[in-house]
Structures are given as structure tokens and as C-alpha cells.
Symmetry: C2
Subunit: 392 residues, 2 copies
């Protein structure tokens, strides 16, 4: 037996205690944890295959069916962030060579297109500048031209602040034998969505936005049409971790005895369960109203500061994440840093195609209050007074 020695010493930084600052998270997400979610995060482990855990998973499924407004049996939480849910959707629905139509009006469509290419789909991006959205006519042209098996749209384009309308898109896709995949990571719970009534075939969302849960899990659901595409595949999905047939089993969606697939994130699932319980108690319509009202108040106060909303048409403004045109004469980074350094409040700049164009302010879940609007407006006002201004 070779003799080895410990050559790497215990790191000094780890011998200091963990200390976490207080932050009001008013960026595009993650948001702060609701108190009940916070409490769930401090609970002790049980096994991922214990019956109590399966009960919690069943409750999560029902909670997702409620927030998605769907009766789909194939509804579950993914053990990963929003991008992981997007990959779960694309890996399971698309096979190499499949035609994939993607609305790219910000960073999320770019990411969907990137993933589609990695797995060998024929990707057809419909590119629009940040701030743009897709009309039924835009979509019909793409469907007619590319005969896709799947269309990707982002309901809440959090990089641009656009709310994509969804009425009529499902039926239109189905006329062209195309499935509709919608990203509601930044919009779910903040604005209406009706998966079944709107004919959405695959819908996913995140835990760390309106739901006020920790990042690390995400929600997904598949219509019968989408499920048939998955169960009729000729090739296995590239990922075992995200293989929907395995996940369907462990989430009790296939009426078979559950068998171990991977160790599910037990504690994160406690938190997600509590998030869904909170929104079930509040009621979706009340949650939508809370976001509409808080964001309307934010918009009014922003105008009061002389700032402009980046999305001109009020009908397509996202009621969760607001984009403000980056104030002329300032470096947007100075403003973001000022608000963080002096007030411990997070707001952010743009992302991907919207970098440099916007500031982003999110009012998500329990953070969507008039008091928080007053706090961030006060901070912004000070930032605009004190940040260096270029006199051009």
C-alpha cells in the first residue's frame, strides 16, 4: 500500500463562523424567503423514500397543479434551478433533428436556442430586440415556415420586463401540430396563467421568485400531447437525471411503485411545499392583485422621480419585474452599487441583450408591498442625487 500524506491543510477561511448580511432582494430574483419558508429550511432530514416524503411530494404536485391551473398528471418538481427545468423540457421533448421554433426577445430565448442546438435540434430563432413580444401573426409565420415540433415562449421576460400574451397561442400551435412550451419562471403567481385553458403543453417555473423559496428546485408540467411525444421517443433523452419517465415514477405520476432514481432535495422540497401552501392560502387571484397593485404603485413613484419605464405599452408590462430605462448621464452600475452599499437593497442592471439599457426592480411574492416600494424609491432618489453624473 502506497503511503500518502495530508498535503492540503484545512482552509483558514472555513474556521471562521458563517455570517450572512441582511438584504432586501428587489432584483429580478431570487427574492427573500417568506417566514414560513424560512422555518421549513431549518427542519431536520427524513429519507427521500419515506412515506412522509412521498406525501410532501404529492402535496407539491397538487400545489403546482393549482398555481399552473392544470389537471395534468405529469406534474412535478425538478431537482435543479430554472435552467434545469428548461433542460428537462427540451431534453425530453426534442429528439435530434426535430425542428424547434424559439422566441428570442431576451436572454431566455437565447438559452433555449443554445440548449436546443446542443442536443441536435434544428433551431429556428425568431429574434426581436429586448422589449419586443410575439403576436399571433409572428408565431403563425414561424409555424408555417419551419413546421416545428415545439415553440418556446417566455411569459415573463425578466431581462426586458415584457409580459408575453398567451391567449390563442396554444390553439394556434396545435393547428400546426406543434407543442407550446412556456417559461413562467419570473411571472408565475404574479400574473394570470391557465395552462389547460390556454393549451400550454409544457410549462415550467422557478422556486425563487414569487414563491419566495430558496433557489434549487423548479416546477414543471406536461400535457397529454407532450407526454405522448415523450413516451413515443425513438431515442433516450441525453440525461438520466432529467429523464421524465424516471421522474414520473419517483413523483408518483405513473401509478407504479416508486423506485429510487436520485436523492431528491428533501429540505428544499419542505420549503417548496410551504411556498405552495402560502399561495394556496392566499389564493391566486389575491396574489395576482397584490403584484398588480404594488407594481402599479412602483411605476407611479418611478415616474415621480422622472424615470421612464422601458416597456412603452402598459398591456405588455410584467407585473413582477419592472425595467426602467437606464437614466441618461449615469453609469447604471453606480446606481445599483449605491442602493446596495447604502441601503442593503438589491436592484440590478440588464441581462444579456438588455445590459446597459435598463435597471431592473422586482417585487416578488412577499416582497411586493407598498413599504418596499417606498424603500427602494427612497434609495433610488438618493442614488440619483449622489452618483456621478456626466454632463453631456
Amino acid at each position: 500500500m502506497a503511503s500518502h500524506q495530508l498535503l492540503v491543510a484545512p482552509p483558514k477561511a472555513l474556521l471562521k463562523p458563517l455570517s450572512i448580511p441582511n438584504r432586501l432582494l428587489l432584483g429580478p430574483g431570487p427574492s427573500n424567503l417568506a417566514p414560513r419558508v424560512l422555518a421549513a429550511g431549518g427542519l431536520q432530514m427524513i429519507g427521500h423514500m419515506h412515506k412522509e416524503m412521498f406525501q410532501i411530494m404529492d402535496e407539491i404536485k397538487q400545489g403546482i397543479q393549482y398555481v399552473f391551473q392544470t389537471e395534468n398528471a405529469l406534474t412535478l418538481a425538478i431537482s435543479g434551478s430554472g435552467h434545469c427545468a428548461l433542460e428537462a423540457a427540451l431534453f425530453n421533448i426534442l429528439e435530434p433533428g426535430d425542428s424547434f421554433l424559439v422566441g428570442v426577445n431576451g436572454v431566455w430565448g437565447q438559452r433555449a436556442a443554445d440548449i436546443g442546438e446542443r442536443i441536435g435540434a434544428q433551431v429556428h430563432p425568431m429574434i426581436k430586440d429586448p422589449g419586443g413580444h410575439y403576436t399571433l401573426q409572428d408565431v403563425e409565420e414561424g409555424l408555417a415556415q419551419h413546421k416545428p415540433v415545439l415553440l418556446f415562449l417566455t411569459q415573463g421576460e425578466s431581462s426586458s420586463g415584457v409580459l408575453q400574451p398567451l391567449d390563442g397561442y396554444g390553439a394556434l400551435c396545435h393547428r400546426y401540430k406543434c407543442l407550446l412550451l412556456v417559461d413562467s419562471v419570473a411571472s408565475l403567481g404574479g400574473t394570470p396563467i391557465y395552462m389547460d385553458q390556454q393549451g400550454i403543453d409544457v410549462l415550467y417555473s422557478g422556486s425563487q421568485k414569487v414563491l419566495n423559496s430558496p433557489p434549487g428546485t423548479s416546477l414543471i408540467s406536461f400535457s397529454d400531447k407532450a407526454k405522448n411525444k415523450i413516451y413515443g421517443r425513438k431515442t433516450k433523452p441525453v440525461s438520466f437525471y432529467l429523464d421524465m419517465k424516471w421522474l414520473a415514477n419517483i413523483w408518483g405520476c405513473d401509478d407504479q411503485p416508486r423506485i429510487y432514481h436520485h436523492t431528491t432535495p428533501v429540505i428544499s422540497l419542505y420549503s417548496l411545499r410551504e411556498s405552495l401552501a402560502l399561495i394556496a392560502e392566499q389564493g391566486l387571484e389575491n396574489s395576482w392583485r397584490q403584484h398588480r397593485e404594488a407594481t402599479a404603485y412602483l411605476h407611479e413613484r418611478l415616474r415621480g422621480l422622472g424615470l421612464q419605464l422601458f416597456v412603452k405599452d402598459p398591456a405588455i408590462r410584467l407585473p413582477t419585474v419592472t425595467t426602467v430605462t437606464a437614466p441618461a448621464g449615469y453609469n447604471w452600475r453606480d446606481i445599483v452599487n449605491y442602493v446596495m452599499d447604502h441601503f442593503d437593497i438589491e436592484i440590478t442592471g440588464g441581462l444579456g441583450p438588455s445590459v446597459g439599457k435598463v435597471l431592473r426592480i422586482g417585487l416578488l411574492g412577499c416582497n411586493a408591498t407598498q413599504e418596499n416600494v417606498d424603500r427602494v424609491i427612497h434609495a433610488l432618489q438618493e442614488a440619483l442625487q449622489h452618483c456621478p453624473r456626466n454632463k453631456l
Copy 2:
């Protein structure tokens, strides 16, 4: 605008409070959370791109370098469970057509082979019955025959209870221009491993075993040889979520400014940081000794009950997860259920090829104590007395 209605009501089960039973988790993992890890789970969110979070991530990297005994710069945590880390390894190292040699002596090799096939590698399984391990000669035969770019071995085969020796395997692989990938999910912290000294090119582990953290994150590190293979790829990895070039950036391993990739599981990373801090404080050698002693005591007490260890050769018995030959005349399920129902203690049956052959008892991290051994032995003793016995 179409008019929609809420047709799915808030689920009744979610209107009840969350309640979690007390369980002593002495299966093959997950384990119970250490008190300090539990406390970290109850902390409030900060942003995934805040400087304090990057500091925590840097501390996690150093902690992983310590427990892996490596100086590899490309060392980080994956935002998913052990299987997700395995996929991160295979997706990034293998390209379609690459020859991949896999030690399949239990379920983990089966899973590695399955994933290799999904991404189009030429998979060459070396199949052994549960309880088997790979000698240097076994491996050399496989290397000579299949000229693989990558060999997969499991250090702690938790489905069979086997400890795979690792001295000499790295050098042997390198002589054949093959990289060595090792799964240490069930063994890390419980038994020595020296990534650099043993010439391991890719090493991964889990959070929920000896580290006593919640499941949902995993640890991974790549040698320079492995990194060169990744950076010299002709094709992109199939996954964006697990693309190591992106992850290297967000984890500060590439000396570039960090850019948003996905929202990292902030709270789970707090917990992981605390787990690594605990083992840094205790010292690896003390942790190894704790597992060796607790497990030796367990073995002695099991023999006292007249039970047999499944792995005959003491030199290859895993000091974290013990496999006991399923006691003749009993249904193993009755025993597992008795121990759970009467004592709230988890032990499990086999997994994959070892189902029906073994009972598995894990002593992981803070659970590896003499007191816990006494508790599980008492529970087993009662189970053996009270469970139905077939008189064949």
C-alpha cells in the same frame, strides 16, 4: 382577450401544517443534518451574485480541495445531487464515439454506463457480481483491450458495501492515456482518498452522506489532464446547466469576471459551507478514524447477533455503509419495516443487483457513534425476534 376561470381549487392537503417526524437515518444516505448545518438551513437569502456569496463559494472550493486532497483549480459544487455530478463529469469529459470503460460491480457503474450510452460514448462495462472489486490487473486488461479515454470506478460501492482500492490505478490509467473518474459519494470523509497523490482525474461526491448536509448539491474536481480534455472538445457538452466552462466561471475558477449562469442554490450552499467547515475543524484523519471505529464496533455487534457481513474480505469493507447478508428465513422488508415502525430508525435493503441479498446500515458523519450502533443493534435484535420466520 379570452376569459378564463380558476378551475383548479387550492388543494386541501396544503392547508394543513407541515409536520416532519424524527428519524435516525442509518441507511446508506441521506444522513441526519449536523446541528450547525441545520442552523445554516434556516438563514435568510442573499443574492447568488453578491460578493458575500462569492466568498462562501470560494470557501466551499477550498473545503472541497481539502476533503479531496487536491490543488486543482477546477473544483466546485454542482447544483444537483450525486447523479447530477456524475452527469457533469461524463457530459464534459466524453464526446460521442469516445471509448468509456466502466467498472459495473453494483448500481453506480450501471448508471455511469447508462449515461455514457445516452451521450453516444462507446461503453465497455466490466461486470462483476455485487461484492466484487477491480484489481490493477482487471483494469489493465480493460485498458489494453478497449483503449478508453475514461475509466469509471466507485470508491464506496454503497449498494454492495465494497471499498475499491485506489492506489496505483491513476498511474496505470495514465500509462494507457486514459483518465480516471472516481465516485466517492458514499465514502468521502469516511475513508482516505488523496486525489492528487492517487492520480485521480475527476472526483465527485455528495453532500448528504458523511458531510451531513441536505441532498441537492455535490462536489467535483478536475485535474489539469481532465481540464485539457474539456477545453479541447470539438463539440459542446449536451447540457448548458452542467457546462464546465460556464460553471468554472461562476465558481471563480477561470480568473474572469463572474457572469450569471444559473441561480445557484444559495441556502444549500450555506449548509454545504458549514459541513465543510465542520470536517475542516475535526480534521480528515479524525473523521476517518471515527468511521473506522464506529463501523468496527457495528461489525462486532452484528456478529454478536449471529449476522454475517456480506463482504468477506475485511480489507475491502467500506467503513461508512455496511452490508449484512440478508438473514436466512426472513423477508428483509419485514426487518427494515420493523426497525422503522418501532424505533424510527432507517436501515435499508439492497439496491439494484444487491436487492434481496443484503441489509444496509450506514454510519455517516455525525451519525457514526457508538450510541447509534447500540440503538440500531437493539432495534435489529427486536426485529429478529418479532418478524415472521419461515421455517425452511
